[in-house]
């Protein structure tokens, strides 16, 4: 850290503003600021997808199929003449809605189960830890395939299935955090002060354990979007009526050589969003960890 950086740091510390350290570490990282801005654009686009998309994503125009980029169709048209830009934006909304819901569900369930197991210990912890192991040992795509076959396609089924596949990694991380933290002296003195167990868990352990789980959640958002696309690519995720990036790639495969935009546009969309979430995850880790320095990170 440079000399001026240290001075600024001390000033921020002395200013006694809560959260100033985060802000300071974010300010040191222009790359990360760009990532957060882009991510904000993506999130806004997802929320306002129907407003943003210039045309009906389902409107076919067989005379104007497989067009290149133009003023009318920014990203060209697909093999049925549908506007690719509108379809990508609507696909973004679908993916984000599913991914965010899934992550919220798995975050809540995973942290609750994981922290309970870690705090309780004994046979309860043993049973839960083995269950987590079983879920993690199962290849997630295979498990997802089995569940889709069982439940059928659809957005709600997709969320349910992804939650079942992913809660275990949150639970394992949270359990490990609580296990490491629960023998800390402040927990012992909280117990000695007569505080009830649930209070210690909620007010003392959770805040001290949650940060790595938040980082995992941010990174897992990208991962989940990738999984959704993978499943739809395999034709197992969502019904074909819903625009989705994976199924768009799959449908475009046949005409890939003559109309590459059919594959490139949704492919780039998947890559960009996944990359943004991964970078944001790393960024959240960096700015919440006082031990990291700006050099060598975004």
């Amino acid at each position: 850290m440079s000399e001026t950086g240290t001075v600024a740091r001390i000033k921020i510390w002395q200013s006694n503003v809560r959260g100033a350290d985060w802000y300071y570490r974010l300010r040191q990282r222009p790359g990360l600021q760009i990532v957060f801005v882009l991510l904000a654009v993506v999130l806004i686009a997802a929320v306002f997808a129907p407003v943003i998309s210039p045309q009906d994503p389902a409107a076919q125009d067989l005379y104007g199929k497989n067009q290149w980029m133009s003023a009318d169709h920014w990203f060209g048209t697909d093999y049925l003449g549908r506007d690719l830009f509108s379809r990508v934006v609507c696909g973004l909304q679908t993916s984000m809605a599913i991914a965010v819901t899934t992550i919220v569900i798995t975050f809540v369930i995973g942290t609750a189960i994981g922290s309970y197991a870690g705090y309780k210990g004994g046979w309860v912890d043993n049973v839960i830890a083995r269950v987590i192991d079983v879920f993690l040992a199962f290849p997630s795509i295979i498990l997802a395939l089995a569940l889709v076959t069982l439940l059928g396609s659809g957005i709600l089924n997709m969320i349910f299935m992804l939650s079942i596949v992913q809660w275990a990694s949150f639970a394992r991380l949270m359990r490990g955090q609580v296990l490491a933290e629960k023998n800390a002296e402040y927990v012992l003195s909280a117990r000695a002060a007569g505080l009830p167990g649930w209070w210690i868990l909620l007010k003392h352990l959770m805040p001290n354990c949650i940060m790595p789980v938040v980082v995992l959640a941010t990174m897992d958002l990208g991962h989940t979007i990738l999984t959704i696309s993978t499943l739809s690519f395999l034709g197992l995720g969502l019904p074909p009526s819903i625009p989705e990036w994976g199924s768009m790639i799959n449908a475009g495969l046949d005409s890939m050589r003559t109309a590459p935009l059919n594959v490139i546009v949704p492919g780039l969309a998947i890559t960009t969003v996944t990359l943004l979430f991964n970078l944001a995850g790393e960024g959240v880790r960096d700015i919440t960890d006082p031990g990291t320095d700006a050099e060598g990170s975004l």
């Binding site: 004994g122 002296e185 402040y186 000695a192 002060a193 007569g194 505080l195 001290n208």
Partner: protein
Amino acid sequence: MNILEVSELNVAFPTRRGLVRASQNVNFSVKEGEICVLIGETGSGKSVIGQAVLHLLPQNARVSGSVRYAGEEILLISEQKFSRLRGHEISLIPQNPTGSLDPLMRCGQQVAEVLDVCGVPKEEHSSRTTSILSALSFSDPELVAASYPHELSGGMRQRLTTGIALAASPRLLVADEPTKGLDYAARKRTIEMFLNLKRRGTDSVLMITHDLELAEMIADQAGVLYSGELVEFGPAADVFSSPLHPYTKGLMAALPKNGMTPMPGMCPGLAQLPDGCYFHDRCPTPCEENHVHPLMHEVCGRQVRCSRC
């Protein structure tokens, strides 16, 4: 009246090297309004006694004996029953003030949550917290209450943990090495604080320490632990001025003001204790035969574990 009576307390931990007997047949009592100090070197089992009194032993500990608080057996009662005593009946001043404060919670909140447990209404929390903090000679209690632990100095944290322990005005205070890791000034303040407690005369304190000077200044009763056993217990003034057990004598001689004479040898490992007297190998005046384990017996109004006394 005895507020705490510990009798035949045994604590052992099963390990790969065998059973580690951290505390053996410990007998002592703390009278109401008195300060009882247990002295011992690292590994003599002194912290284990405090943890046993507070039900804070690790789950694998094997405990037997009896601990009576105000006449009521508390050693082997359920966690649920015991948790009612915590905070407002028995409380702990923890060993390490830095680690014992939640780094993510404001200091005032950490005092207030103890008040909450003891049924103090929410509206009174902030005023009570402020008065507790100012009683511990914080110059700006409101600022301290609004700070996070890392913003305080080591000595301030020490006083804060004491404030948390005293928040619900417990009848018995267990202080586990309150001067450990403190610099001279902070240590002096801590000693003054305990002297204040002593002058008030209402608090009963069980203190565990290896700080002999602190013990000498504040103790009413003093016990000396060696290899998990009490070797001497009695009125502090007598124990410090005319020690009877050779180990106590050695400790006193090792004090800077008494010439800093080191004691030769090491204490035996708690997993492989000899049959006879544990202190035999280091004793300056050893008995010829070391087959029989010496028992506590009364000499000049105190308990001593030495067959020579």
